[in-house]
Symmetry: C2
Subunit: 196 residues, 2 copies
DNA sequence: GACGAAATAGCACGATCGTTCGTATACTGC
DNA sequence: GCAGTATACGAACGATCGTGCTATTTCGTC
C-alpha cells in the first residue's frame, strides 16, 4: 500500500469516528485535518470534494459492517446458530469503540434519507443487502429444519431489523441499561415464533 | 396572541419542516429567514441564539406529537382500542406532511444523542414519556382483561417502539411500499402474544 | 395624533465552511 | 544525479455561519 492510500485510510478512519458523533454534515474538513495533524488542503487533495469524502467514509462503514457483523456470522453453521451470531454481532457493532457516536449507518440513514444522491444510494443498497442476508439466513434455517417451512422470510428480516434499531435508539438516547436485555428477549421470542 | 408570538409560531412551523429534511444542524438562520421573507437579524431577535431556536422547535415537535398521536388515542376506550389507535396515529405521524423529512424526533434523537445539553434532555424526556404512556396503556389493557396479567409491560412498550422505529426506517430510506404492512403484521402479532 | 414599546430591518463582525492554486518536499525509475 | 510523479503545505478565495449593534417601522394606548 502506497503512502497515499495509507494516509487516506487514516483519514477515513478518523472521519468514521467523527461522523458517528457529529453526523456527516457536522464532519468538516477543518476539524478532521486538525485532528489528524494534516493541512486542510492536503487532506482535501485526497478526495477532491466533501461529497467524495462522505462517500468513501460511507463505503468504509459498509465494508466494516460486513467484516465485523456479517462475515463472522458466515463462519457459523447455517440455520439458527448463524442467525444468533449475526444478531449478537450486530448488537456489539452498535457499541464498537471505533464509532463512539453509535452506528454510523443509522446516523447516515437519517441524514441522507431525504437527499437523493450517491450517498443515499449506497445506504439503501447496504440496507437491502442486510435484509437480503437475513432473508437468506432465515431460508437456510427453514431448510435446516430449524424454522417452520411456512415462515414469512421477509417479515422475519423486518422484525430483526426493528429490534436492532430499537436497541440502538434505546441505548444511545436513553442509555437504558436494560436495552440489551429487552432486545435479546424480543429476539428470543422472534426465534421461538419462527421455530418449527 | 400578539404579533410577536404569531411570527414566532410561523418561524417554528417552517423550522420544523426544514429540520425534518436537513436536520437541526442543517437548519440555518439564513435559509429559514429567506424562506419566510424575514431578515436574518429580525428572525434571530425572536430567539437570541440558535440553541434556543432548536429547543423551541424541539419542544414544538414534542407538543405536536402529543396533540397528533397521544391525545386522540386518549379519546379511545382504555385497553386494546387505545393502544391500536396510538399505534396507527404513530404510523401516520411519520408521514405527516408538515414534516416532509420524516419524524423529526427520530432525526433529532440521532443528532443529539451524543451531545449532552438541553436538546438531548428534552428528547430523552419525550422518549421516556412515550414509553411511560405505552406502559400505562398496557397496564390499563391488563386491568381491562384484554391482556394477560403477567405481561411484561416495559417489554411491551419496547417492542412497540421497535416496530415504529423499524417502520420509519424502512419507509424513509427504502421507500418500501410493504413497510406499513410489515409493521402492522408485527404489531398484530405483538397484540396476540399479549392477549389473555 | 403623539408616544412608548414591540417588532423588524440593516449592516458589520469574526469564524469557519468547502475549494482553488501555486509551491515545496519526498519518493520513483532511469 | 536527474526527471517526473506523488504527496503535503500555506495562503487565499467567496460564501455562509451565528451573533451583536443601531435604526427604522409597526402597533397599542392614551
Amino acid at each position: 500500500m502506497g503512502k497515499g492510500a495509507e494516509t487516506r485510510d487514516r483519514i477515513v478512519d478518523s472521519a468514521l469516528r467523527l461522523a458517528s458523533r457529529d453526523g456527516f454534515e457536522g464532519l468538516t474538513l477543518g476539524t478532521l485535518s486538525t485532528e489528524l495533524g494534516l493541512s486542510k488542503s492536503g487532506l482535501f487533495a485526497h478526495f477532491g470534494s466533501k461529497d467524495e469524502l462522505q462517500l468513501q467514509v460511507l463505503q468504509a462503514a459498509v465494508n466494516r459492517f460486513t467484516e465485523t457483523v456479517v462475515r463472522p456470522a458466515l463462519a457459523m453453521p447455517r440455520g439458527e446458530p448463524r442467525i444468533r451470531a449475526f444478531f449478537e454481532n450486530w448488537l456489539g457493532w452498535a457499541n464498537d469503540p471505533c464509532m463512539p457516536g453509535g452506528c454510523i449507518l443509522v446516523t447516515a440513514a437519517v441524514e441522507f434519507d431525504d437527499r437523493p444522491g450517491p450517498q443515499r444510494d449506497v445506504l439503501a443498497a447496504a440496507h437491502k443487502d442486510r435484509v437480503a442476508f437475513m432473508t437468506k439466513a432465515a431460508r437456510l434455517a427453514v431448510e435446516a429444519g430449524h424454522f417452520r417451512p411456512d415462515l414469512d422470510l421477509g417479515q422475519f428480516a423486518f422484525d430483526m431489523d426493528c429490534i436492532a434499531l430499537g436497541y440502538h435508539h434505546s441505548q444511545r438516547l436513553l442509555r437504558d441499561p436494560k436495552a440489551g436485555e429487552r432486545a435479546r428477549f424480543a429476539f428470543e421470542r422472534l426465534l421461538a415464533a419462527a421455530r418449527a
